[in-house]
Symmetry: C2
Subunit: 225 residues, 2 copies
DNA sequence: TCAGTTTAGTGTACAAATTACACTTGCAAA
DNA sequence: TTTGCAAGTGTAATTTGTACACTAAACTGA
């Protein structure tokens, strides 16, 4: 179609994806981080990442990388930002696109995670990360918080069925502030796409708590931004 | 530092930036678009774009590209998204990062724009664009609208000093809906970082309208979101 | 000079949304 | 049967957002 010479006078670069993998447990957000037992930056902490391959879209690369580490498919992932400073990777020039992923922390493949020398680290205890990964985490967290304020994305961090107390604790963790229980439940009650399953969770209280579920069809029908 | 072999087994890609350049005139948002008199896709409409060069960051590349076209420096620009589908450019594989820029439409360099065969096109009249540039415009517009709702970014589309009527017309154009004049002025009055200059604009009314200015120091001091 | 035209500028009442706040219920274990 | 524990529930006050119409100033042209 076009003369390939048009493109070939311009440089090419490695393209990578780095994934900020969020989990939720014990009332706190966690990240799945690698203590790198491989080069470059062996021994240091980093995000899970990987290079984009021929014929693979950025989104697919990000998905592949998270699946490689967790064994999970069907992930909620969103692109955050692309980092393109010439010296951001001290080895060679690499353009890296950050994605965040939301994961049900009960479900990941422990073997795969162990094999990668990866660990869930609670947010306040995040160690210093290599390159510009600290900044990626900041940006992803800000973006995820924004999205959680306007869409029920956080639900992807919980199991299929969850109690309202779990949901509230999750939102407190995401937003970083306590929420009034009655106001919270009033708001949830007004969302018809969060519906009672009729089943009861007995693990965390003697009385038992009603289990709820996210109804995607009802939600998509409403599309309140 | 690291063995370069680590990187070299992975493919490299062209990296481009494409810029959604917004202007504001006669109560409407416009985009600065190219009617391409060069390959590829000669004859079709596209965004202004360019390849990322060695040693140049993504942000710098986007800035350079907009400056090449408009002669303007000191631009308000934000990264929108990176598009990485393998076949998005039918010529060769190119990863493209979209940026939006806000430009005072009174100030650009007409010679440069003419030389590039570029034209300001009002939003509702945007033609079909090449590749995935339509989607880039959609995404940029959505992102810019969101930002305009929470920060006074739109002010970058106006001259240094502006009347409240201009500002209201701008926000009506950005949000795509009419705004009540009294409520609008009430809201602006509560923002101490939009301050009267004491000067009067006589061009658009016999009575004359007070000129206002954005005070960055006061705004940064407040950091409301 | 006076009537007409044009845009700037101003306040109040109502509705809606958000916030603050404390006790009762049901169940199981001791 | 008593105790402990988390689940579940309503109302009043405040804040925020929305609807709405006239006067003021200055120039123009008859």
């Amino acid at each position: 179609m076009e003369p390939t010479g048009y493109y070939s006078i311009h440089p090419k670069f490695h393209a990578a994806v780095d994934c900020i993998i969020f989990g939720f447990e014990e009332g706190e957000l966690s990240l799945l981080l690698l203590q790198r037992n491989f080069e470059p930056a062996k021994g240091q902490w980093s995000l899970m990442g990987g290079f984009v391959e021929e014929g693979e879209s950025l989104d697919d690369a990000a998905r592949r990388v998270v699946t490689e580490l967790t064994g999970l498919d069907d992930l909620y992932m969103r692109q955050v930002h692309t980092y393109g400073e010439p010296d951001r990777d001290p080895g060679e020039r690499v353009l890296s696109t950050a994605y965040y992923a939301l994961v049900d922390i009960k479900k990941y493949d422990r073997e795969l995670v162990r094999a990668h020398n990866a660990f869930w680290v609670k947010l306040p205890a995040i160690p210093r990360l290599i390159f510009d990964h600290d900044r990626m985490v900041d940006d992803a967290l800000r973006f995820m918080r924004y999205q959680a304020r306007v869409k029920p994305v956080g639900i992807n961090l919980l199991p299929e069925e969850f109690t309202l107390t779990q949901l509230q604790t999750l939102y407190e963790a995401i937003l970083g502030e306590p929420i009034d229980k009655r106001n919270f439940r009033k708001r949830i009650a007004s969302m018809d796409y969060i519906e009672k399953t009729g089943r009861i969770d007995k693990t965390s209280s003697r009385k038992g708590a009603a289990l709820y579920r996210f109804n995607r069809e009802k939600y998509d029908g409403n599309f309140k931004i």
